[in-house]
Amino acid sequence: MEELLKQIAHCVEFGKINQASPYPPDMKGEDGADELTVRALEQGATAEEILTDALIVGMGKVGVKFRENKVFVPQVLMSAKAMSAAMAHLKPLFASGTAKRKGTFIIGTVQGDLHDIGKNLVAMMVEGNGYEVIDLGVDVEAAKFLSEAEKYPDAVIGLSALLTTTMANMEDTVKAIKEKDPKVKVCIGGAPVTQDFCNKINADLYSPDPQGLVEYLDELAS
């Protein structure tokens, strides 16, 4: 079993989705995350084991490589796609309550911003690291974040913006959340966002990469 979980982690790390996928070239024709996850479940692995010992391990490695500029968005998206292929088999088990997650993360791009590549990447990485992710999509009003936060009182909120022009809305959203409940943690990210900006708008975390966020969430969850 250990070997099988290692193989799944390897598939996630290198973006091998399923047998039919031509990427990466050196794994052509081999089974991918999809087939191997089915096999692991058949052989008695639990959803939690697969998540913890395969998906989180693989996504963790991708996260570190992304942070170190060794891989970029295309490679991470392939990894995320491989992870999703595995998650498709695990999700019904989580939904039925037979398996546990580490916590809940609510994410969306701020009002006026329709760019979701970064937001999707973060959502996938966080999910791949064992959290339930509530993805509110793009162009999300502050009120929507507030109502979701009420439904999931322990959730951490993540705001994404790609445009310098929508960063002002990020400031307003953080303010609205903090006014309602100063204890709610708000993390921000996106190409134009900086630590400086984070300090100015009183958000709790800025991370230039998803891995930093995952580490922060792990710290809060522990």
Binding site: L77, N120, A191, P192
Partner: protein
């Protein structure tokens, strides 16, 4: 102010990596110009008249050496059938990707000059050209990778691995669209065609060289054949691709705050390419004070230097950037004295090692120190030094005078040691006597006489 060179000449010189008398300043006033007119971004970007008026207003306020006609990377996408969302306070965003729907790349054709908003933009370009013959007009075209992303959506990232032939086909088409737009802009009178390809910051150097370089290089070579200048703009952290961008042979690359300017300077100049950037957009230009903005500009200028550098914001200016912040940058760019003062005050007094001046003074002679930027390049400094020389002459050996230029360390130390904070300043026996204004020779002579009397007492 410096009227010796037109903005266009300065920009051209910078692009050709010649030494410039003054670093050219190119504020990327996109939808910010709509703000200057008090209208929304959508209304602005759909009207040739508004664009003309907005850019005119920006020229009047910011005295730029170059300026883009519009900063909108959705013009080509819209003409190719992408649907747009129009917020009031930023450029539109693409909300539909034709190639994700039922349309094939073969079904698309290169937009003509009358499609979408292209005629509006070209009309504004022509009129601005006529009104401002001495300013470098920038025509911004959507880079092929960003346009391909508009057409394909984020599928492009995965298709780079799963269907590279398809991606190449789309890239080739997008580069052709870019050539068409470049041609329209050059025809309408633009001096610089800037290919803006922010999405390339998201890919690795191998993918860049495989899917972007061939098309970008083709575009720049096309622009060169048209005897126009080219620039490669990228927003976001594209540090990994700067080398590869240089190898595409644009005349200039322009980057934002995510990439260290000194790194870009060294890489670009080593490749015989000029460079520009990278003032921080939100934390400084939008949210900072006028002094923050001047210090930011100065830091960029000091790193950029007078050879091959264009001072610019990192990317499209946030719409609500306070005009006074940009005017403060304009003031700084045109005022070398202010640059010198700011530079000197930038080094906090505690950091500057003060000089031991005990042997500097003389019990029989009057010592005059003139703190200047550099009398060789700053006219008021030169007149002040001249005035001191002429006033001192009749006193012969009784007066010792010396110019301290703050372009060298000793000058900065002397300035701090004497407690001087403006340039140029005349200090007599350690007392600040004349600040900025050049005193008449007679008045200076009287002062010297007063100080000499103190010595004989």
């Amino acid at each position: 102010m410096d009227y010796k060179q037109t903005g266009l000449t300065l920009v051209k010189k910078a692009f050709n990596r010649e030494n410039v008398e003054r670093i050219p300043w190119v504020p990327f006033a996109g939808v910010h110009a709509a703000k200057l007119l008090g209208i929304g971004a959508g209304e602005y970007l759909k009207s040739s008249g508004h664009i003309f008026n907005g850019v005119s207003k920006a020229v009047e306020l910011y005295k730029p050496d170059g300026i883009p006609v519009v900063f909108d990377l959705q013009i080509e996408a819209e003409a190719l059938g992408c649907r747009l969302n129009w917020p009031d306070n930023s450029p539109p965003s693409v909300i539909s990707h034709p190639l994700q729907e039922d349309i094939k790349i073969e079904d698309l054709s290169i937009p003509s000059a009358s499609d979408g908003r292209i005629p509006i933009v070209m009309d504004a370009t022509g009129k601005l050209r006529e009104k401002y013959p001495d300013i470098a007009l920038y025509g911004l075209i959507t880079g092929p990778f960003t346009l391909a992303l508009h057409l394909m959506g984020t599928d492009i990232f995965m298709k780079m691995f799963e269907d590279p032939d398809e991606v190449n086909k789309v890239m080739s088409f997008c580069a052709d669209v870019g050539k068409m737009m470049a041609d329209y802009y050059i025809g309408a009178g633009c001096d610089v065609v800037a290919m803006v390809d922010p999405m390339t910051s998201q890919i690795d150097p191998d993918s860049f060289e495989t899917f972007v370089s061939p098309y970008a290089a083709g575009l720049f070579s096309f622009i060169r054949e048209k005897q126009s200048l080219s620039s490669f703009f990228v927003c976001g952290n594209a540090k990994q691709n700067i080398e590869a961008m240089c190898r595409c042979k644009p005349d200039n690359i322009s980057i934002d705050e995510n990439i260290p300017l000194d790194y870009v300077r060294d890489t670009a100049l080593a490749n015989d390419i000029s460079f520009g950037g990278n003032m921080r957009l939100t934390t400084v230009l939008l949210m900072g004070t006028t002094e923050d903005c001047q210090r930011e500009a100065l830091e960029c200028m000091d790193i950029g230097g007078r050879k091959g550098f264009v001072l610019a914001p990192g990317c499209d200016l946030p719409m609500d950037t306070p005009p006074e912040n940009l005017q403060a940058v304009t003031d700084l760019v045109h005022d070398e004295m202010l640059q010198g003062e700011l530079r000197a005050s930038a080094a906090p007094a505690t950091e500057v090692e003060k000089l031991d001046l005990s042997s500097h003074w003389n019990k029989d002679k009057v010592v005059i120190d003139i703190i200047t930027l550099d009398s060789a390049s700053c006219a008021p400094c030169q007149y002040m030094v001249d005035a001191v020389a002429r006033a001192s002459h009749p006193f012969g050996e009784k007066v010792i005078y010396k110019e301290h230029k703050i372009t060298v360390k000793e000058g900065v130390q002397m300035m701090a040691s004497l407690g001087v904070s403006n340039l140029p300043t005349i200090v007599i026996d350690g007392n600040i006597e004349f600040i900025s204004q050049i005193p008449p020779v007679g008045k200076l002579g009287e002062k010297i006489t007063e100080y000499l009397k103190l010595k004989t007492k």
